[in-house]
């Protein structure tokens, strides 16, 4: 059952369809769960890859995330959106995995600017119509941003990605991370400053 093969309609992607989808999953509907995975796996993979810095680890973690979603969906109360609830699972699992690495003194997480050709081939092109020069320039900028992102702490990185990439509000991030809104704003401000300093130190000239 490959969820990637599922063609999701716009109605299925709408937030209004979420309660019905969750209810179907709770009843053990495998097709409904496959649709749920198809809806969120891109977000889970992207966020986990940026947080962990390793595409293969992120793929493995995504499987664990959806396994946890399947098992604990009965406890999902619906007070927040399903997407926010999944964000929380992803961030917690990434944090746990990083701690596991630290305990085992893993030399260093693989930085994204050293990402392999195989991983790079999986990156989705933003625009198919761009010229080779533009494409190279974009990839170079992406590498520098990734590298600067890797220089941040896990907590700053998580806040920055949830805000800038996933578009969560400070209140949603506070609910996702289980933090006060003020703490989230403070981390966001420091994370943005840290990213900027990292880009300047890595780039020479501004992108």
């Amino acid at each position: 059952m490959a969820s990637g093969e599922l063609a999701l309609s716009s109605a299925e992607r709408s937030p209004a369809a979420e309660p019905a989808l969750v209810e179907s999953c709770r009843r053990g509907d495998a097709h409904a769960f496959a649709r749920l995975v198809a809806l969120h796996e891109g977000m889970v993979l992207g966020l986990a890859t940026r947080l962990l810095g390793d595409a293969e680890e992120a793929r493995d973690l995504a499987q664990e995330v959806f396994l946890q979603v399947y098992r604990t969906l009965g406890r999902f109360e619906g007070r927040s959106s399903l997407r926010t609830w999944i964000y929380r699972i992803v961030v917690n699992q990434c944090r746990n995995r990083q701690r596991w690495w630290r305990r085992r003194r893993r030399a260093a997480e693989r930085p994204l600017d050293e990402i392999s050709a195989t991983d790079e081939a999986r990156l989705v092109a933003v625009s198919a119509a761009e010229s080779p020069f533009d494409r190279l320039a974009r990839e170079e900028r992406a590498r520098r941003v990734d590298s600067a992102l890797r220089g941040l702490s896990f907590e700053h990185r998580a806040v920055l990605l949830l805000r800038e990439v996933e578009g969560l509000s400070c209140e949603e991030m506070a609910a996702t991370l289980g933090l006060p809104v003020g703490t989230v704003k403070s981390r966001l401000s420091r994370g943005r400053e840290g990213l900027r300093r990292g880009l300047v130190s890595r780039g020479g000239e501004r992108p």
Partner: protein, 241 residues
Amino acid sequence: MTCRAVRHRFSEHRDRALDPALSAAVTAHLESCPACARDWRAFNDDLDLLAALPGVESSGEIAARVFDRLDMEGRQPGLSLIFRPFGAARPLMLPSLVPAVFVLMAVLTGALALNRGPEPLPTASTAARAEAWDGVLPPSGTESNPLFPTSEVSVPRMRSAETMPGYLLDHPGEGTVFLETVVARDGSVSAVNVLGGDSSLPRSVVEALRRERYEPGRFRGRPVAVSIYRLISRMDVWGTT
């Protein structure tokens, strides 16, 4: 408003989280300060770049993998027969190992208790003590330390029978006497000892026994002194007359 204060509020200004008055002050400063305006544009460009990072292509296999995992876990009772832990797969092993360990320990303890090392070699003091005894005791087979008749030591044979002691002939009666006669290496009698019986035997009887002559006893062909024991009954003497 200073440049430092404005730059400190870039993050909130981007999120439109500043109150209107403060937001208007920041905007006015950015319009009048080219350096802060340049930094503001760079700040936004960096974050827009982050937001525009390419996503990660999903393989579409995650749901299938999750279902595989769930399916495998659902078949756990069957799979556990193969993949269950060693102890669980052999429930009788541990209970049977416990008495086996006790039996083994008992056997080893018994073996260690009975295991006595080889007899120690004679020490210098033991050898010296044996030599000292050799010095005190006379050599075996001599008159002062006679041997006893055995399978290797032949019994002395009498050469000539002496006449019966006159005392016994003169005073016939009942009673017996137990004697030890030491036959010397030359066949003579070196000693006669009365060991039991009638102790009133006169000296003449002992002297008569001393005069007996024997073919000496031999040990490996060599003549040795031998002790022989005799029981003499007066009734026998009386009967011979």
